[in-house]
Symmetry: C2
Subunit: 207 residues, 2 copies
């Protein structure tokens, strides 16, 4: 049995490359490969959407210092902390915050949409990462339709059967810098894999 | 748009039920449905393995107080804390532990296999949950082949391309009380979904 983590990783990527039947631009290849690595699901090679230059823009943002804000603590847990620290990126998820729960109750909205609204009120470069809650994504798309921000990029990969497909269609149509998994599939693991793949492609950042 | 979480959940489950083409025993149905809910991937309906009475045995164990030990902090993050507290279940992941890293370096093994060995040294009811690292699963199967424990049950759903299929085949062949996703697919999200589905089926525990 192969036990060396780097060897396992290299062999995994070799298998993925050999089985990947869809031609992909060089820029997006490492992102799609890491999503397949995290899911063993090759359908992502056909379902992922990248806005123009999304990978370059997001890496540039991450390399200049940013806050990575997720809609679940699970996505946050999957992000490589060493790589984030190396980039000086702050990681944040407010879903378990008492204030967020109270505001959501008072307004009769989801906690995820309150988290998204709070993320939009912050300053500086922000990578907004949605692996679970369509309302997080929809709050962002609705707000930024009215006022575009060049310091915000979005990873939109919620998973599920209700509101999910629509939320990603809205993101794609928004013109925002984004990476999304169209259709029903996605998840916190996919979200974390995309963030990690973006970070690993920046000079000096290792897994 | 439907915004009420309980309504979204109910509609999601209705869609899953209507699209599920594989007949499944009543006992395993809620577990498989929650995995599909977490992944939008119906292939799990055909790939999941349940040892005899696995669901009943695991729920019985969880209802008597147990430690749920995961191989990733990501799986841990996805487990419903309120439900676990209600059952008096302790949640544990030692993957980021300094001691574990040191022992792994000294022995030349993976951190996951050290975590598994430490889990086996503990006492009491233990649900061992593997969503990522095949070496975590293989350590358990190897150790328990020599000495069976009736206070241990295993969820084996690592994802990936190297050692993964083999580790789950070994688990299935071990005779241990287990739930597994055969083949390459699985993940921390699948692991957490299974634990949550088990807990939600115990009287008095809610989502």
């Amino acid at each position: 049995m192969i036990r060396d983590p780097q060897d396992i990783e290299a062999r995994s990527m070799k298998i993925i490359r050999s089985e990947l039947k869809v031609p992909l631009p060089d820029e997006v290849m490492p992102i799609v490969m890491r999503v397949i690595h995290a899911t063993a699901d090759f359908s992502f090679a056909e379902s992922m959407y990248f806005s123009p230059n999304a990978v370059r823009i997001m890496r540039d943002m991450l390399s200049r210092g940013s806050t990575i804000i997720t809609d679940t603590n699970m996505a946050l847990a999957g992000i490589n902390k060493t790589a984030a620290a190396r980039l000086g990126a702050e990681l944040l998820c407010e879903m378990a915050d008492e204030d967020v729960a109270r505001t959501a109750r008072d307004k009769g909205v989801t906690r995820a949409s309150v988290c998204a609204a709070r993320a939009l009120e912050r300053r500086g470069n922000r990578l907004l990462v949605c692996g679970n809650a369509p309302t997080f994504l929809l709050e962002i798309v609705e707000a930024l339709k009215r006022k575009a921000h060049d310091d915000i990029a979005v990873i939109g990969v919620p998973v599920g059967f209700v509101n999910v497909v629509e939320s990603k269609e809205a993101l794609r149509a928004s013109g925002l810098t984004c990476i999304a998994s169209m259709g029903r599939r996605g998840g916190s693991n996919v979200a974390a894999a995309i963030v990690n793949a973006l970070m690993y492609g920046i000079g000096g950042v290792r897994e």
